[in-house]
């Protein structure tokens, strides 16, 4: 499998902070993967995300995107076109006063021909389900709709990877569900590598792989099952586990023999059913 993003021994510090925000992070994302990055506030996960498309460059170590080094200024726009980024607050990402103009923004910057822009933004808006709002003003949309417009603006660039920095943190449950569904569709159907930074364990549980960060370091990596079955470790990093693992964990503390690896609701229900049946 081809490596999409590779960070090797990455160190980075902000000038106004004594302690380095990233302390020797190693991270690899292969093409087509869906990775969730977990960690408590201030663990450096947003800082790490900003290294993936050269918004920040490492103090030490190296980050490469499809073998292009992020410190190479000549490849800057290639890298940013390959790795798109979506942030937490949809309001602060939308530039234009009309949805379709905003989706076209990146393509206009890249100097794409107008007819081609039209084709690609229509496609991007279809994929993210915002086509019906294309003539609306962004401030008339809900948070979830705005966030999907922001994702469409990134998808229009046809990136190989999108990095989402807590995209659902400011949304209501309905908006969250739709944004997450959009992200999963992009990953499963269009093969776009997804790196999702989140505080929601149920979102992380849907990823192929979870990377847990703490104090500027990657402390744990593995499939959702591997991570969430270690309930005590996860809790010690001031994170939560999905409710499904939680219930199995609490029950097994009481002496019942249940596995915390059942993290999907179906698996958990089946396990409880089997257990109660004896």
């Amino acid at each position: 499998m081809q490596e999409m993003i590779k960070a090797e021994n990455l160190w980075f510090g902000y000038s106004d902070e004594k302690e380095k925000a990233l302390q020797g992070v190693n991270f690899t994302a292969t093409k087509g993967e869906f990775i969730a990055v977990l960690g408590s506030n201030g663990c450096g996960k947003s800082t790490l995300a900003k290294h993936f498309n050269a918004i920040l460059v490492p103090d030490e170590g190296r980050v490469s995107v499809l073998d292009m080094l992020t410190s190479d200024d000549d490849r800057l726009f290639d890298i940013r076109q390959k790795v798109g980024m979506v942030f937490q607050n949809p309001d602060n990402q939308i530039v234009a006063t009309i949805v379709e103009e905003d989706v076209a923004f990146a393509l206009e910057n890249m100097g794409v021909e107008p007819t081609e822009i039209r084709r690609r933004i229509d496609e991007a808006m279809e994929k993210t389900g915002v086509y019906k709002f294309k003539d609306k003003a962004p401030h008339h949309l809900s948070g979830g709709q705005k966030q999907r417009v922001a994702i469409a603006g990134i998808i229009a660039m046809r990136p190989d990877c999108i990095v989402l920095d807590e995209p659902t943190a400011m949304l209501d449950p309905e908006g969250r569900r739709k944004v997450l569904k959009t992200i999963k569709t992009l990953n499963k159907e269009y093969g776009i590598t997804v790196i999702l930074i989140t505080h929601y364990m149920d979102e992380a549980a849907q990823a192929d792989r979870i990377v847990v960060m703490s104090k500027g370091k990657v402390v744990k990596e593995g499939t959702p099952k591997e991570i969430f079955s270690q309930v005590e470790l996860v809790k010690s990093l001031s994170l939560d586990v999905p409710q499904t693992s939680e219930i199995a964990y609490e029950l097994s503390k009481l002496g019942y023999n249940l596995s915390t690896e059942a993290i999907s609701i179906d698996e958990c229900a089946q396990q409880l059913y089997d257990f109660l049946k004896g």
Partner: protein, 272 residues
């Protein structure tokens, strides 16, 4: 309360005026203002006035809106009237003299002309914003001002700033409303007290507003960089402006109208 503020309000429609190329609308509006101030005789002014209801009719913009847009400039009109009435001196004897204030015929004429000009000016320019979406307007401006690039004037940057400003007006208005509510809930007295008290009460609203605006600006800049923004160089546009036969026809009509208005100068005696 703040939701009522609308800057550059736009009323979507499909009239010939709505469909007109923004560049032509901009040029015509500027030309209209120039000719408005060039016409000093009754016929020329009458033509300028007549153009307003005619254009509003074609654009199907209700006259009610016009009244709304004229209301806030009423003080300015009054101020101009008073100033001109009392300070313009004529050749003949004054019409009226109260104490040291003398009112001349010329003063009255000048007042009337000025009021007509101001009203036409506001009506004409409002029609531009009513019939042109902000994005078209900035687009038109960017293209009209493109020659200024030669003298290193940052045309694209200006247009981008305008777009972003327009985009963030509703967002910041909403935010201001929220901050006001938050401060009120903590006991801020915004609607009572003396004038100075009220001005002082604005400080705890403006400071959070500014801080959040700067934070937004910072995030927006990062988001724009992520989408490969690097200034106006090599940029293409989704919407291309094209001059259609409709545009050419309108331009010809406007040129004829302006020529007629200008010609009246030579046939009628000026009022002022």
């Amino acid at each position: 309360m703040l939701k009522d503020i609308t800057i550059g309000q736009h009323f979507p429609g499909n009239s010939p005026i709505h469909r007109l190329d923004p560049r032509i609308k901009l040029i015509v509006t500027v030309a209209y203002v120039v000719f408005l101030f060039l016409s000093t005789n009754a016929v020329g002014l009458a033509l300028c006035i007549a153009a307003i209801p005619a254009l509003y009719g074609i654009a199907k913009i209700p006259v009610k809106l016009l009244k709304k847009s004229l209301k806030p400039i009423l003080p300015i009109i009054l101020f101009t009237v008073v100033l001109n009435l009392f300070f313009i001196t004529g050749d003949g004897a004054p019409l009226l003299q109260i104490w040291k204030i003398k009112i001349y015929m010329e003063g009255i004429m000048f007042c009337i002309v000025m009021v007509i000009r101001i009203i036409c000016l506001i009506s004409g320019t409002s029609l531009l914003t009513y019939t042109t979406s902000p994005i078209e307007l900035t687009d038109g401006l960017e293209r009209l001002m493109a020659p200024l690039n030669v003298v290193k004037f940052p045309v694209h940057e200006m247009a981008m700033m305008m777009t972003i400003a327009l985009r963030f007006i509703p967002t910041l208005v909403e935010e201001t409303d929220k901050i006001i509510s938050a401060q009120k809930s903590r006991g801020a007295m915004l609607d009572s007290g003396s004038f100075t008290d009220r001005v002082k009460a604005l400080v705890p609203i403006l400071i959070p507003l500014f801080i959040s605006a700067f934070r937004r600006a910072d995030e927006l800049a990062t988001a724009m960089e992520c989408r490969c923004y690097h200034g106006g160089k090599g940029r293409t546009r989704l919407k291309q402006l094209k001059i259609t036969s409709n545009d050419i026809m309108c331009s010809v009509v406007c040129i004829v109208c302006f020529a007629v208005i200008f010609a009246t100068r030579f046939f009628f005696t000026p009022l002022i």
